[in-house]
Symmetry: C2
């Protein structure tokens, strides 16, 4: 079928990947028919903003909605069907079967090209009491609304965060701002696994400074309630339960691939849908992107599962260009991320020491302390930089930074270096910006690379 | 001569390039003899900090001295001779002749390897009155001290800055903080030449907001004084003089190469000493670095003259490694710089539109506006990004950013991209850090590249 005839495009899932795909297709081909099935109540929302809505820094849930379903329909001509869940993909007849979540009504929608952006689901630990009122996952705006309203209504004095990853720590900050005394329960011997100790040490100090009681090596054995509402949590081996008027699950996410799997699409070793650089699945007419897919890791050269918003947006765009008959490739990711833990900024890119070890790399690691600005210039905070490099080749494998706000954007030069497989001595020679209000004369990004390079020989 | 025997090393000029060279050599080879001739009063000082000392944000001149001559002598074993000016290099006999600036005494110092780090001199426009009291260049700590004391003593009400480059604008901010009403005189039709209009427009607004009266296309014709002290300035074609109790010259710098030239070392087309990637001059025993040398521009592949501190430090280190018998190369620069203009941060890397035009590139340019953070997250300011790309290859040629503080470190990913000759569509796909307090979901660095890439086809 010619690309110029009117095509029928179906999208399953109305968040970042799906909607960036739909928008791009419809913008380029206004006469194509683009149907989006979204089972939830919102499309294209800023899930990462949820902690800041709960903390009241963001005042309205509307602020987290980039574009509403109505706007997609009216301004972009995308046929968004809210509250419709796709329940089957028939690849032989090229039909998606979707069901109205509230009425149970079913429709059959044919497609020329299908885009799957079904996202990920929060992992719920299999313990008693997980479904009690006051126990929340943090995935979508409906979760955000429920948490916000629950705190307003019940004003819990104590809370428990299960899981010390990004979501857990961001929610710890949010709940502390709502004046809830917090315990954070982490199964592993550290928070922010697999980040390295010179960085997580700073995070632990920051949590302590804000009176978050962190229990490492701790596993929740049961969640207790009264009248259907959560009241406390038991930890394996601990003598007595921890009081908890609210519980937040930050136990990670799992790609939502049931539909793709049933349709016989290839699933990768991390449980995500496998796609090529064009975001194409093993069915040439079906694309996928966002939190439901595995990605190529540029440093390891292997698949990885890192579900984050920026990539999802790019997946949608790349898939769209290819569906439109163009040529676009998603190069993969290097594992860049940043988060705010109270007053501390923590960033990373590439592999941590733990990951380098696991990946079988022969590596060196180096930690340096620096200031964000020229030593004599007022203000500015400390930075801790931790670098991992490959011994044999001298290549950077990864970087982590903790400290002041500039830790966020100071990780990006390392990310670009990883995209280009740069060596540590070459990173030390990079022409980075300098003026006293912004940097020491040699930026810590380069200095850390120089000091690490010295370890190579 | 074997590198392991005791070598005689001479350094001319005790600032960034010279002292980083001397320190590295002495650290690796404690028994080598390293002599530094410095004609001024200070070594290894932070010239870029001068505006912040004048503004009183930095309280003591000592804070701008990274290491003192005494510390170099005592802790690092470097034989620093303060107030000694090298007046001749005899390459045949491998001898430097130096003169004590105060006594006129001369010494002859033999060298196995010589490092030239003679820096640059401020350009003084050839107008009457340029040597009046109250007319200052801004190059070294002695200048800083004089300016500071002059303001304390005479509390000038009005001042004139000649030149709208980095130094001129930073000093405009400093003098405004000392409550001096300012005029800024710029010969060219814009400030911060050769930066582009979408950026300089923001700078002009910021200067206006702080009541700095900028006169473009204006040339100083004379500086007037009374009792040897400056009182006003005349501009060509202007009806009457501008009152000025203080005048700051920000008319640029010129590489200080007299000594090298007399010794027959090759001088490049921009007037700087020509060196290879090893920082070696055309005499294999003589190295040079810092503000007195030309550098390789990685984007144009041609020589350039961009005198900045970070490169000077690297030059010294690279030269030292080579003198020590190792192998190090300075890759060149991409023209990265950042400055603070009152509350505005302005950064650049690579070529501006003006430079791309002049360099004969067939280029596209693109300006975008963005926010520093997620739109819904409180705080954060606007950014203006201006990109220049090569039409034929799609490669990034340069980037400029103006706006909030993150404009400083957001230029660095572009700098790394330039080092790696990256194309705009690939920059759009970079895995850059995201969290709502630090960035929109797609960082403006990538978005600008995507929008610019759209112009390529």
């Amino acid at each position: 079928m010619s690309r110029d005839s009117k095509m029928q495009i179906v999208v399953i899932g109305g968040d970042a990947a799906g909607m960036s795909f739909a928008s791009k297709v419809k913008r380029e081909k206004p006469d194509w028919n683009v149907v989006v099935f979204e089972r939830g109540e919102h499309v294209s929302y800023a899930a990462c903003g949820i902690p800041y809505f709960v903390s009241r820094e963001v005042h309205s849930l509307k602020d987290l909605q980039v574009i509403t379903a109505d706007q997609f329909r009216e301004k972009r001509g995308v046929d968004v069907r809210m509250g419709w869940e796709a329940i089957e993909i028939d690849r032989d007849t090229k039909i998606v079967i979707a069901r109205d979540v509230s009425t149970g009504e079913e429709v059959r929608q044919g497609y020329d090209n299908l885009m799957i952006g079904t996202g990920a689901n929060a992992v719920k630990p299999p313990v008693d009491g997980i479904d009690l009122e006051g126990v929340f996952t943090v995935r979508n705006l409906s979760d955000a609304k429920r948490i916000h309203e629950f705190i307003d209504e019940h004003t819990p004095q104590a809370g428990v965060i299960i899981g010390g990853g990004y979501i857990g720590l961001e929610m710890a900050e949010a709940l502390t701002q709502r004046e809830i005394d917090l315990h954070l329960i982490e199964m592993l011997p550290q928070v922010l696994n697999p980040m390295d100790e010179p960085i997580t040490e700073k995070v632990m100090k920051e949590l302590d400074r804000h009176n978050v009681d962190v229990r490492l090596d701790s596993k929740v054995s049961a969640i207790h309630g009264k009248n259907g509402k959560v009241t406390s949590i038991s930890i394996e081996g601990a003598p007595e339960p921890i009081p908890a008027g609210i519980v937040i699950l930050g136990s990670g996410v799992r790609p939502n691939t049931q539909l793709a799997e049933q349709a016989g699409l290839t699933i990768g070793e991390f449980g995500g849908i496998r796609v090529d650089a064009h975001q194409r699945t093993n069915d040439p007419d079906i694309y996928a992107g966002g939190d439901c897919v595995e990605q190529h890791h540029i440093v390891t050269g292997k698949p990885t599962y890192i579900p984050l918003g920026p990539a999802a947006n790019k997946h949608g765009r790349v898939a769209a260009v290819n569906v439109l008959g163009g040529e676009a490739e998603f190069p993969g990711v290097v594992g860049t991320a940043v988060m705010k833990v109270f007053g501390l900024t923590v960033s990373r890119t590439g592999l941590t020491t733990y990951q380098a070890k696991k990946g079988g790399f022969d590596f060196i690691e180096q930690t340096i302390q620096s200031r964000e600005r020229a030593g004599y210039y007022p203000g500015g905070r400390k930075l801790t930089l931790h670098l991992v490099g490959e011994k044999k080749t001298g290549k950077l494998l990864g970087a982590q930074i903790a400290g002041g706000e500039t830790a966020a954007k100071r990780i990006d030069p390392y990310a670009v270096a990883l995209h280009n497989h740069m060596k540590l001595p070459d990173i030390a020679m990079l022409d980075l910006s300098y003026a006293p209000p912004y940097s020491p004369v040699l930026d810590p990004v380069g200095v850390a690379a120089q000091v690490a390079a010295n370890k190579l020989t």
